[in-house]
Every structure is written in structure tokens, then in C-alpha cells.
Symmetry: C2
Subunit: 766 residues, 2 copies
């Protein structure tokens, strides 16, 4: 990690003593299993902050389709692991954290003994294949470390990682059949024929290289790997289920199943056998690369030049300790667990996507070189809201590199657009808006460097003027997206308007007033989908009329995506006062918001949308999905800040628990967690691109935020006097000892360092 220089190392020494005290360290409050039960879609395995490797167990292999129909059950396996499952299929090296759609699961390893089986088998009949039952009682999950006992084989499996290398330690019993399987067929979300190609070489008796190219959610994605074993391979073999031939010579009979050192095909599984006369370990190191096996090998040799598993584990632990120590809190135990687990989940995505030598595969499929780390996995519809703003406070240099990575994407995009949802040199075109503009604008407005701001503005403008993208031409001409021309038209119009406002803020800061004026005008386009007759945002047609019929509760209603009109109608984060005026003023708006949080919904409203679940709602307020994440803070703008305080505390209490089922919806690459971090600290970035944060109600007693980069010596302290589960109402706020008579603070006020004191009480201070 280039980010760790000398200063950082000095910091480590400081933290070290503290860390040795054990249970009190931030790491000890993290439970990677949080979110692995039900729909959190997190994974329990080993990774380092923003690591390219996410080495984690897989608990099933459900097909994407059953009888030609989408198999709804696979949605549960976005991260490969479900807590309720009782068997483990193996351990693979790449995982999304908390997404609502999926891919990855590359390069699966599984240690086995006994008769050779090269098919995973099924959950109900594991012994038909190679999978093994396991028990949670043998499972340990810590930041950078995972352990489990594979009961069937009596093999203890341990996982740890560096940025680009996954390290496995398998403790075998004495056996004459110690094997490690390499399953290149396994993948998360196995679309039919997901594998495009795979290739493996046994270079010598401890080194295997290869790649896997897939057509998954990412259109084409190749993961190259280099894998070493701490013991010599004694024999090995392959099973190729592909119909494609490996060698074409019609008379050739070279045995390719046993000890043949180079294989390729689409459906390839292999095994490596080891001597194991007495119980012993095999340490497997797997370096990955988006570029080549040569780079994967270089990554491996440079990051783990030894076979000492414990040393890698310790390095990973210390990396997490450094990162998590960016915010030190004093809080109740449950809050501490929620908080550090959330902070852990925010520091996983986006992920590093460049090799030790700076090479990476660009969106144009060519190999490019970058000086700083390049990042991928941009789930921007989610993460622009609070995750990237959090990075602007605790790791702005890294956020700058992320923005730079988005600009690389733009430079390589044949559409000349910033990323929408991108990973591994793919644009997945998932969800709506062009929220990279929000991330870029927020970074510019907040002074985060590391990229060419003028070029970044040009990129935002080019993206926001791409007429053929999702109704955008109509939006530019008519001021709204007509539902008869492009679906989800209200959601799009509202989100475009916000993004346009963000672009305008950036343009003003960069003194590009022509751009400012154009986009400031576009920022008001939300008005064009407001239907004053119903008081809701409502889809309009290209003839100007509002669409009929219109149901404000239906989450599947034309005009909307992943949210109903009740929730989406509140999406004007950049001009809340104007929106409130449009909706009838403070009093009426307050009642409207109250209804949202208290109304009863029939079951039928949850039938259609995967991302909106019973667990994630309070009344009709949907916390388990993103469009409403700013909603509780809107009370600050209609003269009822105590209701913001009350609601955010209720949401934190109801929606976050330090248990495997503790997340109320997909963590969405850290956005759900970032909401918690901000809210627990007592402030929230309602409209990224603004330098303001809304004040809420802190769930901590005290927090010290190291503001700026990792070696920063500035700290912003939050003190919440008298805070308790009952004392959720803010009585008084002081900034650096002086009363603060507003419901917001600015970015500069935070970044200068200082002290923000909340005096809390049990009664609203109206």
C-alpha cells in the first residue's frame, strides 16, 4: 500500500501498544459476519482495506436459471455466503460487499481427502461432491482473517490477504489423499455459460498460473492468477467438462487428464495432490491481476515473499487497525460493534484495480499504467450519497485517486461518459443518474485533490449531455424525462436534477460560469414532475400530461425504480426549502413526513422489488434501499429538527445490529454502513456537492475523527453529553466552545479540527 509511508509506520507503533490491550481495539469490535444472514450481502472472509483480493467462503452454487427462468434464490448469493447454509463449497478470491446484483467468485480452492470428487455436489447431498459441512462454532471472522473447520475432512481452513494476494492455510490430518481442488467453473451468479475461457499452467511443482475470463454481470472480465504451494505437488489432474476441444489433432492421444501441465477450456476443474504422512499445513498463496499471469506473479512475490501465514495475518490486522483508528469512539458496546463493523464495511469498496507496477486493464480493454493506485467497483447510485463524502473526511487522498480512476474510465469510454456502475474494465449500466458527477463535484467543492479538476468538470458535462443515455436528450429539451419515451422517468428526472446541481456547484468553484448557469438551470427540473393536484412527483408523458393511473405506494409503479412515489417525491436533496414550499410549506410537509414514517403498508407492496424488504422499512420509509437515505434529515428544513434527531436514532436502533442478520438491506458497497457512521457521529451529507452537513443526534458519547489523510495530525472531536437511548434530543450545540445556532456544520469546520459538543436530553427542544 503506497499510502503507508514512514509517518504511518510511526503511527502504527503508537497504535501498537493500544492494540496489545486486546479487546478494546477497533478491530475487536468488527464482526465481518454482520450482514451475511438474509439480505446484507456481505461476505465474512479476509480482505485488507480496499484490497483487490476478497478471499471468502462460498456456501452454495445455485444456478442463475432454472428451466429457463431466473432463479430468485440466487439473489441471496451475491457475496457467495449465506449464514444459514450448512456446507462450504470452497474459498474464492473475489467478492462484492453488499451489492444487489453480482458477479465474481473467481478461482475457487477447496482442500479435500478421500476419493477424488471434482463436482461440488449439492447442499442436500454434499457427499455426492466435494463440499463439506461446517459449524459456526468453529468459525472465526476478524478483519483480515477467517477460519473454519471443514468437518467432513477434519481440515482447518484459514484465510488472510494482502492487497493483491489471498493466502490460505489448510491443516490436513495424516492421509494418503491430501488434495487441493482448483475449481475454475465455480462463480457467483452462474449465468448459463458464464465462463468464456480459462487457462491453467503448472509451471513447476509449487507454482500454477492461469486466468479465467467470464461473461457475467460484467460483460467480459478476466482475472489472471499465480498460485504457489508451500509443499511440492506430487501429482495433479484435470477434468474438462467443456464441449470445446482442447487440442484439435484428430489422431493425437496425449493424456490430458493426468500430470499434463497446460489446460484450457470453459469448464475446467483440477486437483493437486500432496504428501501428508503426518498431519501438516499447506500454505497456498494466490496473487491476482487484471493484466497478466506475469503481473499476478509479480504481485505475489512482492507482497508475500515468504510462506509465513501468521505474518500476513498480522500485517492485515495492523492495516485494519490503522484504518479503523481513523475514528475512535466512546459508546455503548452495541453501538461500538455496529460502528466499527460499519466502518469496516465502508473501507472495503471501491477496490484496488492495478498491479504493483501500476498496470491495469482499461475500459477500452488496453493495458494502461497509473502512478497512484487505480480503483474499480463503483456502485455510484449507492455510494455517492455518504460513502465518498466519508472518504473526503477520513481518506481524501484515496478518494482523489478514486475520482482519478473515474476519469480514467471517462478517458477510455467510447461513450465519453463517467462510470455508472463499473467494475473490472466493464460498464454494467446499472441503475440511473450520472452520480459520478456528484462524487467528483463533492471532491472539488471540498478541496480533495489528486486529479485535474477542469478535466473532471469537462467529464461531468460530457456525461450529463449524452443525449442518447436513458432519456437524457428529452430531459435536456423538455426539462423532464417523458415516461412514454424512457421508463423510470420520475426517478431519472429527480436524480438528474440533483446531479446537475452538483455539477453547477463544481463549475462555480472552478469559475466556469457558463457551465454553472446551464446546470443551475437544469437543477430546477424536479419541478417539472411535481403534480400539485396530488402533491407527489408523478410521471409525465411527452405531450405534457401526467400519466394516469397513478399509485403513490406501488414500488413497481411506472415512473419509478426501486422506490415508490412516496419515497422518491422527497428526492430534492439540493433544494429542500423549495421542495417543501412546493409541497405546501413546513407544517404540511412535516405532517407528510410523519405519515411516511408511521403508515401501514399491505404485504402486496413488497412482492416485486428485491431491494425493498419488510426488514428495511419503518412505516413506508425504506431504509433498506438508498433513495430515502437523506429523508430523516429533511425535518431540519421544515422547522422540526427534533424529529430528525428522533428518527435517525430510531433508524440506527432498528436497522443496525451487530449480528449476522444485523443489516436491514444490502450494504451496497458500504453506503448503508456510511449512513450509520455519519448518523452515529451526529451529522450527515444530505447533498454531496454542498459543503454542509445536517446535524442529527449522535449515538456515541465521544468520537475523535482523524481528519485528512492517514498521517494527519488534525482531529475533530465530537462530544455528546448526557447521550443515552432516551436522551436522543439535542438541547444545545457548541462548536469549539461557542454556541452553534444552526442545524448544520461545514466541511471546513470539520477539517480544521476542533470540538463539536452536543448536549443531549430526553425531550425535544422545539
Amino acid at each position: 500500500m503506497k499510502q503507508f509511508g514512514l509517518l504511518a509506520m510511526m503511527l502504527v507503533v503508537g497504535i501498537w501498544c493500544y492494540a496489545q490491550h486486546g479487546q478494546g481495539s477497533p478491530n475487536s469490535y468488527v464482526n465481518p459476519l454482520v450482514g451475511t444472514h438474509k439480505m446484507g450481502h456481505t461476505y465474512p472472509g479476509a480482505t485488507v482495506p480496499f484490497g483487490a483480493v476478497q478471499l471468502s467462503p462460498e456456501t452454495d452454487t445455485l444456478p442463475y436459471e432454472v428451466n429457463g427462468q431466473y432463479n430468485k434464490d440466487v439473489y441471496r448469493y451475491c457475496a457467495g455466503y449465506q449464514y444459514a447454509d450448512s456446507t462450504i463449497v470452497g474459498f474464492s478470491h473475489t467478492h462484492f460487499s453488499g451489492t444487489g446484483h453480482s458477479d465474481l467468485g473467481d478461482i475457487l480452492l477447496m482442500p479435500t481427502t478421500g476419493p477424488l470428487r471434482l463436482h461440488p455436489g449439492t447442499a442436500t447431498r454434499p457427499s455426492d461432491g466435494y463440499r463439506s459441512p461446517y459449524r459456526h462454532s468453529t468459525e472465526v471472522a476478524e478483519p483480515g482473517y477467517y477460519r473454519v473447520l471443514l468437518d467432513r475432512y477434519n481440515i482447518q481452513a484459514e484465510l488472510t490477504a494482502t492487497t493483491r494476494v489471498g493466502v490460505h492455510r489448510y491443516r490436513f490430518p495424516a492421509t494418503d489423499s491430501a488434495r487441493i481442488l482448483l475449481d475454475l467453473v465455480y462463480g457467483i451468479y452462474n449465468y448459463p455459460d458464464k465462463n468464456v475461457w480459462s487457462f491453467v499452467r503448472v509451471e513447476n511443482d509449487t507454482l500454477v498460473t492461469g486466468y479465467r475470463q467470464t461473461n457475467g454481470w460484467g460483460r467480459t472480465r478476466t482475472v489472471y492468477f499465480a498460485m504457489t504451494f508451500s509443499r511440492p505437488i506430487r501429482s495433479y489432474g484435470w477434468q474438462n467438462e467443456s464441449k470445446k476441444q482442447v487440442y484439435r489433432g484428430f489422431w493425437r492421444k496425449w493424456n490430458q487428464e493426468q500430470n499434463f501441465p497446460e489446460m484450457a477450456g470453459t469448464q475446467l476443474r483440477g486437483w493437486f495432490g500432496f504428501d501428508m504422512d503426518t498431519p501438516g499445513n499447506v500454505v497456498v498463496k494466490v496473487g491476482i491481476s487484471p493484466v497478466s499471469t506475469a503481473n499476478a506473479l509479480q504481485n505475489l512475490y512482492e507482497e508475500v515473499p515468504h510462506n509465513n501465514f501468521d505474518r500476513v495475518r498480522e500485517d492485515a490486522r495492523v492495516q485494519w487497525l490503522i484504518q479503523l483508528s481513523a475514528i475512535n469512539i466512546d459508546a455503548d458496546e452495541e453501538v461500538k460493534k455496529n460502528f466499527y463493523t460499519a466502518l469496516y464495511h465502508t473501507l472495503i469498496n471501491p477496490t484496488v484495480y492495478s498491479d504493483r507496477d501500476g498496470q491495469y486493464r482499461g475500459l477500452d480493454q488496453n493495458i494502461h499504467t497509473t502512478k497512484t493506485a487505480n480503483y474499480t467497483t463503483f456502485s455510484l447510485w449507492d455510494t455517492y450519497r455518504a460513502l465518498h463524502p466519508l472518504f473526503n473526511i477520513v481518506c481524501p487522498e484515496r478518494n482523489g485517486a478514486m475520482v482519478q480512476s473515474m476519469l480514467h474510465h471517462y478517458d477510455q469510454s467510447v461513450h465519453h461518459m463517467l462510470p455508472i456502475w463499473s467494475h473490472y474494465a466493464n460498464e454494467n449500466w446499472c441503475m440511473i443518474g450520472y452520480h459520478a458527477a456528484s462524487v467528483v463535484a463533492d471532491a472539488v467543492v471540498k478541496g480533495t485533490g489528486g486529479f485535474d479538476a477542469q478535466h473532471a468538470l469537462d467529464a461531468c458535462v460530457a456525461t450529463a449531455r449524452h443525449r442518447s443515455y436513458e432519456g437524457l436528450g428529452y430531459y435536456m429539451d423538455m426539462g423532464y424525462v417523458p415516461e412514454d419515451k424512457s421508463g423510470a422517468s420520475v426517478s431519472k428526472t429527480l436524480e438528474y436534477a440533483y446531479d446537475d446541481w452538483a455539477i453547477a456547484q463544481m463549475a462555480r468553484k472552478l469559475n466556469r460560469m457558463d457551465v454553472y448557469e446551464e446546470f443551475a438551470r437544469r437543477a430546477g427540473n424536479y419541478r417539472h414532475v411535481f403534480d400539485s393536484s396530488t402533491g407527489f412527483m408523478r410521471p409525465r408523458l411527452s405531450n405534457g400530461a401526467f400519466r394516469t393511473p397513478f399509485n403513490t405506494l406501488n414500488t413497481d409503479e411506472p415512473g419509478f425504480i426501486e422506490g415508490n412515489s412516496w419515497n422518491y417525491s422527497l428526492y430534492v436533496p439540493h433544494e429542500p426549502e423549495k421542495m417543501i414550499a412546493l409541497m405546501g410549506g413546513n407544517k404540511r410537509f412535516t405532517q407528510h413526513l410523519d405519515s411516511l414514517f408511521t403508515m401501514q403498508l399491505p404485504d402486496s407492496f413488497f412482492a416485486h422489488t428485491e431491494d425493498v424488504t419488510r426488514e428495511g422499512i419503518i412505516g413506508n420509509y425504506v431504509h433498506g434501499n438508498e433513495p430515502s437515505h437523506h429523508v430523516a434529515y429533511l425535518y431540519n428544513h421544515c422547522g422540526a429538527p427534533w424529529k430528525t434527531q428522533e428518527r435517525v436514532r430510531m433508524i440506527m436502533k432498528k436497522m443496525y445490529h451487530p449480528t449476522p442478520d444485523g443489516l436491514s438491506g444490502n450494504d451496497d458497497c458500504g453506503q448503508m454502513s456510511a449512513w450509520y457512521i455519519f448518523s452515529a457521529l451526529g451529522f450527515y451529507p444530505m447533498a454531496p456537492g454542498s459543503d454542509r452537513y445536517e446535524l442529527g443526534s449522535p449515538a456515541v458519547h465521544r468520537a475523535v475523527i482523524r481528519v485528512g489523510n492517514i498521517a494527519s495530525e488534525k482531529f475533530f472531536t465530537i462530544i455528546a453529553e448526557n447521550q443515552s437511548d432516551k436522551n436522543v434530543y439535542v438541547q444545545k450545540v457548541m462548536l469549539n466552545g461557542k454556541p452553534l445556532n444552526r442545524t448544520w456544520i461545514t466541511h471546513d469546520e470539520i477539517m480544521q479540527g476542533g470540538e463539536l459538543t452536543f448536549v443531549m436530553g430526553s425531550r425535544p427542544r422545539r
Copy 2:
């Protein structure tokens, strides 16, 4: 071409005047259509010497399988074109020349007008698709240039090329539907699902980039391309027949069929439309690369930085003129046509396989960089015999680079073996032996530089000791390959023995006497499959017994491949005297050889082997395939050189004609042609690795060979006094004016320059 320096350019000026005389130039005697009818498997299109691009018309799209059975008809389409066909499907950029197995046919373009059709249609109903009838009367094929009229569209298509760029010029009539189709589905030998992946980007209105990855004969092969148009694209579109989805978002509706700039999938066809109010040309340039679209674009811009088709055509013509002028002959018209067409076909393969910046994809799938050009397409079972020996005389520097390329292959091979049959970072494992060793040894023995000779010897030894390769372990232990352990055992034993002898010669020259002794011993292994009871080489079993039954004529006989025992029993090119002694001495051997050339074979012997056809035989002597290419020269060793003289003239006369059906079998990457070049000049390298050439009977009156590299000022002149179709017998031979009383000359004698005079007569000089 790095090989063309200042000296070369000066040479061009000299040749220029001569060239301007027109019809007498070497180019004018080349007919690229020779071998395109029946089984020559050559292509008529445009290429430059050893060019990476072979831009040529395709005349059919037969499937590899019909109803699950191998479709024998596809064998005719190894080079994509059959002279008897009446429709053209389009023009693609890569072709083998003369192979007996196939692949390639990448990046097919076809200009069309009228209703859009994106399927090629069939030969019998071309108008169902986009293909067009054509007539040979409109066809012109010259070195580096091809032209044809597409009758259906009244479009004249012209093709030319540089090393890495194919250039098309399409003359359209005035039309409102001028289109150029890009068919990425088309390929030669379309195995089921040959395409692994393809990717295209419309970068701007004149530039398209992309790649195609296939699983053809080559296991995985990727051709990257960059394509420019001389007119702006007005609109464009795609048809994706793949079942694989392009974007996974289940609700997204972006129209990907029309003007969508980035497509991917396995079955992709596209079209580009142009304004054509008046008749006019579109010049299309297509750069290719094995590395990336960025490199393809660099290749394109550096090699053809303009849109002047005629200039590229002229450059190609001059390149051929320079190369073909390596040997200037005076001969009868038919001989001149055969000779220069043969010389043209020898200067096509192997092909350049590295980019302008020296990058190429290695056998390990990583990107490597080379200082000199890297080569691919090594059909070594064919070309070690005469093609590479020819290069050692007329372009040793290039042959040195080819050997270096084989060493790259070795260095990157996980089997630690030199190439067997390799192309485009694939080892196809086609045919037997390890004849790269012969090429390497011949280059070392003849003093061809450009590679590390000691490393080359190590590579040969490692290859020849690879025990698990094709019965080689048995061969090493038992002195022969037992037929019950590994098929084609006699062919293998004989060819291994020859290769071993070649390795021994190289080792002796390099003073590695331990290696010399090991391999000199192995060189005698042919004895172990000689059955004195029948007088033939015969398969043996692992118990030492000869296999029964045994048929000496059957081309499909166990023990043999692509030849029967009659032919293969003569395969001891390195120790002919010992073989002759084994077979009963000079007299009996001469009778045996005579029988070979005169016996009558029943039809049934041609049923099974594609490479052995009626056209290619004289008696039971098979010239249309390689194992007998040295046989006519064996008479020199049994005291009957006049029979060598008689036979080689007969073979030249019978087996080579300057017509589309003029080749008697596959040209096999130039080996058939190289046999002709040597034989027509009056000498032949019977055992590459020896510095001797057998003398035959020249078919020229006079020949001046520029010996050494392209700017060499040494010349070896051959004079055949009184030579005619009747005067085929050598009466006297003089070297530099002095009588030569032997039937061979040495490599040094040739390379020193000088004059070899044959005095010919109509009667054998016994």
C-alpha cells in the same frame, strides 16, 4: 520491415529500372492463383513477404460438422478460397498458405448495397444473404495485390497489404445504401462455437477497433484490430446472434442494434453505412495485432499513415520484387512461372508475429518484447525439409530470427519443448517428431546467426528428452517406439532418429561431445524397426516382436502416419549408405526404388488419407505429401545418379503447373514449393543439419542466386548447358571452372559465391 535498410533501398533503385521493363520482372511470373483449385490450399489474396496480414477472398462458409459428423468438404477450405466456387463471401485478413489443417479467416469485410442482409447466405442461394457471384475474368491476382468485381453489387474490390495492415479499396456505384459489413462470426474451419469472444468499438466516425478470440485449431487465439475508413460512417448497426447477454441489467432498454458504439459477444455482425451520391471509393485500412487494439492502431498509423491505396500496392510490389530477385533465372516460360510462383509461396510463411514496438503474445499468454521481428506459423514437420534450408541461403538473417522465435516458444513453453506446429501463441501438437531441432541444427551447422547457439542446443536436447511426449520415453529406453504403446511408431522412430542425428551434428560443431555421443547413438535407432525378413521398416511391439499382420502399401497401416511403409521405409536421410546396405546393397536398392516409382496402386489406397491423393503420386511415390521429398535423391547414393536426374525432372514436370490446379498436394507452408526451387536449381538438402546438398538436374538454363542477406553482394551462378526437356542427364559438372567429381556440393561452396556448371545431355551418364 526492419530488414530493409539503406542498402536495400539502393538495391531497389537498381532493380527499379529493370522492373519498369514490365513483363520480364520476377513478379510478372508469379500467379497467386496457383494451388487454389483442388488441394493446393493456397490463397489468391494480397500479402507482403512473411506478412502478418494475408488479405484474401473467401468463397464459402461450410460448417465443420454436419449432424454431429466431421464434414469432409471443409478440408478444401483451409485457405478460405476454392477456384471452382462462384460466389465470394467477403475478404478476411488472416490465412494459412497450403496447410492440411486450418484456422484463421479473421475480420471479414464485405461491401454491399441494397436491402441489409447480415447473414452470408449459401453458395446455391447467394441472394438469401450478402454474398456475391463473381467471375474469374474480372479477377486479378499479383504479388501484393488482388482485384475482383462483385457482380451482384457492381462493386470493384481491391486488396493490398503491408506487413501488419490490410488495405481494401471498394468502388461503389452511386447508391443510397452503400455499406461495408464486418462479419466477426465468419472464420475458416468453423468448429461449433469457434468464437470464444469478440468486442468492437466505434471510436469515432472513421475508426473502429476490436478483437476476436477463437477456439479453433489453435486452442485460443486473439486477433486485435483497428480499422479506418476513408469516408465518415453515417450510421451503423449490429446483429448479435449470441445467446450470451451483452448487458445484464434486467430492466435496461438501451437500443444496442443501431449506432451503439460498443458491442461484445460471440456471434457478432455489424455494418457501416456511407454517403454515396455519386460513384466513389471507400478505402478501408485494417491493422492487426496479437497484443491489443492500441498496438493494432499503432501498426496501422505507422505502416499506412495515408489513404493512398495505390501507394501501398506499389510498396507491396517493390517488396516482392526485392525478395523474388534473390534468384534470377533464365528458363523456359512454364518453368519461370512455376519457379517464381513457388518462390513466392516459399516467402509467405512463417509469418511476422510481433508489433511495430516489438511486443507479441507469448506461448505463456503473457506479452513479451523482442528486438527483431518474432515469427509464428511453424509447420515444422513440413518445412524443416527444404523451406528453412532455402532461407539459410537466401535470407539467413530472417531464418535466424525464426530460430530465435522458436527459442522464445521454448522459453515460454511449460512443456519445455521447441515448437511442433505452432501459431499465434498456440502449440497445436500436429504431426510427429521434433523437427524444430533439425531447423536449429541446420542453422547452426551452416553458420546462420541471430540466436544463442548453446541455448538452442539445450532447447533441442530438452525437447528430445521429453519422455512423456509421443512414445519418446520408450524410444529412449528401447531404441524404438513400440506400436502397442504409442501409435505411428515407425514414422516416429525414423523421424526421431533423423532429428537426433541433426542434434548430434550441432553438438559436434558446438564442441558438446557428451551430447554428440548421446544423440549420434540415438541417430542409429532406425535400425530397430527394420524387418530384414520383409526388407521394410515395420512396427514393433514392446515385447520386441514385429507386429502382425503387416501391409506395406496401406497408407492407414498401424505404425505409419501420412505414408505407407513403402515410402516411410526410405526415411533415413542422414545415413543413406547404411540404410541401403541394410536393404541389400546398391543393386537391390535401386530395383526397390524403381519399383516404387513404377508400381500400380489400386484405388482403395487413397480412401483414407486426406493428404495423399491421386494427383500427388507417381507409381507408389507420393510427392503430394512430405515424407518422400528426399527419395528421388537417394539414387545418388546407390550408384545411379542419372536416375535421380531423370526422376526429379519428371516430378517437376508432372507435379507443378502454372495453373490454379497446378499443385499436386497441399503446398504445406511453402515446403512443396521449396522442393521445386531447389530441384529446379539442380541441388537439394537431403538431410538438413548436413552441409551437403545432393546434385540433381537443373530445370533452368541459368540462375543467379544472391547468397546471404538482402544486401549481399555475393552471387552463386548455376549454368545448365544444353538443358532441355530431353536433355535431363548430367554429363559433367564444374565448380568455378574445375570438374566436380561428386554428386554433392557444400553450403560453403554456395555461400562463397561462384559458378556451378552442369553440362546436360539426353543420355544417362552411367
